[in-house]
């Protein structure tokens, strides 16, 4: 069926956690970031560079490519502390969570030498060119296409919901390189966002944040050495990173910074039993979800690809995050004002952006189809 092995943090992992906690506490004291909601928060390039200087970006990159060669659990420890504090991590997020892993696994030797040290040092930011106006859940239906030209490819089409394209240097772009074969005709190109023929337009999130963009490709030349791995491997690459993309603490910790503010305010009062119940319920559920997510990080470190497990954790977590927002509204039933600052602004952001939790990174409906198919298969093979 679907099993999760429980584990504990080791002494070394707890030491790393202490270092991260100290770093965040200092950054807070010195006002080096304003508290935001996880990967929905706006990017802070300077903060991301500092995190990189501490060696906490691209942690899985081995030493030969300039990284610390640490594991998925180490990354988990860093990321959960950043998210709990509401630290701005979106600038390095894509490179750290996805691009480093995928270049490491599929990239050419030249790409590894060029991009991995740059990701680790916080010198280059990535975004993902996946969704299109006509392709959301059915990602393999992308129509952005690359045609052969002298020394490379000519890229034409449009991407949408491209997080961070306005400050990123490169977009790992899924496109059709052959009309033959729905999946086999797909490839990923590493597209320099400063190349000729690229137009980037902002799409404002419903709370006014600039997070998403539309990216247009008009005869953009992409040289052969920027094909990620092999032509025709695009679908394999995209699906192989799902275990990384779907299981992390970012899937259930976006609203923890708001929860902390509410908690701090409540601890100053004489809470009612109903308040104690709600805080206890949230704590218990988070305790379980955190252990689920940690279990997947451990499996990744064992070399497994727990894609179905990750889908399950994301489905549970994102539903729960919506419940947390409802609970926070019970604890803080006041009218919300996004311009008021502090708790009320953040809670306002949480309320209006909560629908994104169950959409981004694969809708829950798609995840549930993935899980159900796996269940049906494993039940028949028992």
């Amino acid at each position: 069926m679907i099993d999760f092995a429980a584990s504990r943090l080791t002494e070394a992992e707890m030491t790393l956690r202490d270092e991260v906690r100290e770093f965040i506490a200092a950054a807070r004291r010195e006002n080096r970031f304003s508290v935001g909601l996880g990967i929905n928060a706006e990017a802070n390039i300077e903060f991301s560079r500092e995190v990189a200087r501490r060696g906490w970006v691209g942690m899985v990159v081995p030493k030969e490519y300039g990284g610390p060669g640490r594991g998925a659990v180490d990354r988990f420890v860093v990321v959960e502390e950043m998210l709990a504090a509401g630290a701005p991590i979106s600038a390095h997020w894509v490179g750290d969570r996805q691009t480093a892993q995928i270049i490491l696994r599929f990239g050419t030797e030249e790409q590894k030498r060029r991009f991995l040290p740059a990701i680790v040092q916080g010198e280059v930011w990535f975004c993902l060119g996946m969704s299109e106006p006509g392709s959301g859940s059915d990602l393999a239906s992308v129509r952005t296409r690359a045609t052969r030209t002298d020394g490379g490819w000519l890229l034409n089409g449009q991407k949408v919901w491209t997080s961070g394209a306005h400050y990123a240097d490169f977009a790992v772009t899924l496109c059709r390189t052959s009309a033959e074969g729905k999946h086999a005709g797909l490839s990923q190109l590493i597209v320099d966002l400063r190349a000729d023929g690229i137009t980037i337009r902002p799409i404002r999130l419903l709370n006014g944040f600039h997070h998403f963009n539309e990216v247009y490709f008009d005869d953009v030349f992409v040289p052969d050495d920027m094909v990620l791995g092999e032509i025709g491997d695009g679908w394999l690459q995209v699906t192989s990173e799902l275990a990384h993309e779907r299981s992390g603490p970012d899937r259930f910790m976006s609203v923890v910074p708001v929860l902390e503010m509410v908690y701090a305010a409540l601890a100053e009062t004489s809470p009612s039993e109903e308040t104690e119940h709600l805080i206890g319920l949230v704590t218990a559920r988070y305790w379980t979800l955190r252990n689920l997510s940690l279990s997947i990080a451990r499996a990744l470190d064992r070399g497994e690809t727990p894609a179905v497990e990750a889908a399950l954790v994301k489905d549970i977590s994102t539903q729960f995050e919506n419940e947390v927002v409802e609970i926070l509204r019970k604890l803080v039933p006041d009218e919300l004002d996004p311009s008021a600052g502090g708790l009320r602004s953040l809670l306002a952001d949480a309320v209006v952006t909560a629908p994104t939790f169950t959409l981004r990174g694969g809708t829950n409906e798609v995840l549930r189809t993935v899980i159900a198919k796996h269940l049906a298969r494993s039940s028949r093979s028992d």
């Binding site: 943090l9 305790w287 689920l292």
Partner: protein, 361 residues
């Protein structure tokens, strides 16, 4: 899983399937053969201080009892009575020794008499299989401190049952004289510690039952055809299948994580696993019954043997709300730097606080 746990798991599965003890339907007679086999194999009571046998083995037993839906008090004897006696330095008497649950309404009091003997009075509520007990182990109030006592067969038993038809009896003691040897000499586990261990073991049984429910749901969705195809091909049905799988996976993981918890994190871990099991029971039972349709609500089917136990365990050793209030009250006690420090706790950070008392498991 430890070697002992694996051995237990396989041995119990063999006993439960061979003897036809489970799934036990409502009104089934007491399965004396199954119980005798369990006793004869030495599983009824665990020797906690031997060969590193501890919480993990008790949890494996509880999972197995849940998965096979057997109506025997094995979780109570092996998981609770053995522990309570060992931690209270008391000898286990001959015969079937069962345990009270430290129900909030219990009011067992010990009044010392001369010569070390004592007089005991009070009522114990919802005692599993209380009517069958030759002896009962309970935590009594001894001048404001918890003291474990071994009681003889109760003179008065008021029969009750849980939703699966398992005995949950009220037993009464009125000015009963107890010899000194039946009273722990020192302070033993507190009612809170007993209930925390109990809620964790019930969560373990729930995890086992949930796994079995998932197998039943998947098998049915695969074979039952409507509109010319298996119902597992309908998306709405698939979502119910996923609900069941998620509840089962989350509860099992919470139980296993609680087994690993450091001493200072055990109360939080047991409470969290309890809340997870109790909350997920609601979702799992509803979705499972929805998939099985009318066949699942008859007493001829296996499913109700599992879901009625799950509903019972939802309330036993405290409700979800009892435990969420317990966690919330401790968390709001102003002493934590952040709620996250509790959620991500590794135990040491909370030593000495309400949630971080070192529990003797």
């Amino acid at each position: 899983m430890s070697e002992t746990s694996e051995m237990l798991d396989q041995a119990l599965a063999a006993i439960f399937t061979r003897s036809g003890a489970g799934p036990a339907q409502r009104g089934a007679p007491w399965p004396q053969d199954t119980w005798s086999t369990v006793e004869a194999n030495g599983f009824a009571y665990l020797d906690l201080d031997e060969h590193g046998i501890g919480l993990e083995e008790a949890v494996r037993i509880a999972i197995s009892v849940g998965r096979h839906a057997v109506a025997i008090p094995l979780v109570e004897t092996a998981g609770l009575v053995s522990w309570l006696l060992a931690r209270s330095a008391l000898e286990r008497p001959e015969g079937l020794t069962l345990g009270a649950v430290s129900h909030p309404l219990d009011d067992l009091r010990v009044t010392p008499l001369s010569g070390g003997d004592a007089e005991i009075s009070g009522t114990l509520h919802r005692v599993p299989w209380g009517r069958r007990a030759d002896h009962l182990v309970a935590i009594a109030d001894f001048d404001g401190t918890p003291r474990t006592v071994v009681l003889p067969r109760p003179a008065e038993v008021r029969a009750g049952e849980n939703l699966a038809g398992e005995p949950r009896d009220t037993v009464l003691f009125d000015r009963l004289r107890l010899p000194a040897a039946a009273i722990a000499q020192g302070v033993g586990p507190s009612p809170l510690e007993l209930r925390a261990r109990g809620v964790l073991l019930r969560a373990a049984s729930a995890a086992g039952a949930m796994q079995r429910v998932l197998a039943v749901v998947l098998a049915y969705a695969d074979t039952r055809e409507q509109f010319g195809k298996p119902i597992r091909t309908f998306q709405a049905v698939q979502h119910h299948m996923v609900d069941v799988a998620e509840a089962a996976a989350a509860t099992m993981l919470a139980v296993n994580a609680a087994v690993l918890a450091d001493p200072g994190e055990r109360l939080l871990a047991a409470a969290s696993a309890g809340v997870t099991a109790k909350e997920d029971t609601r979702r799992l039972n509803r979705s499972a019954h929805q998939v099985l349709g009318a066949i699942g609500v008859t007493d001829e089917h296996e499913l109700p043997a599992l879901t009625t136990r799950l509903w019972s365990w939802q309330g036993e050793f405290g409700s979800s709300r009892d435990w969420s209030v317990f966690i919330g009250r401790a968390a709001l006690n102003k002493s934590l730097p952040s709620l996250w420090s509790l959620i991500s706790s590794t135990g040491q950070a909370h030593a000495g606080r309400a949630l971080g008392e070192v529990v003797p498991w």
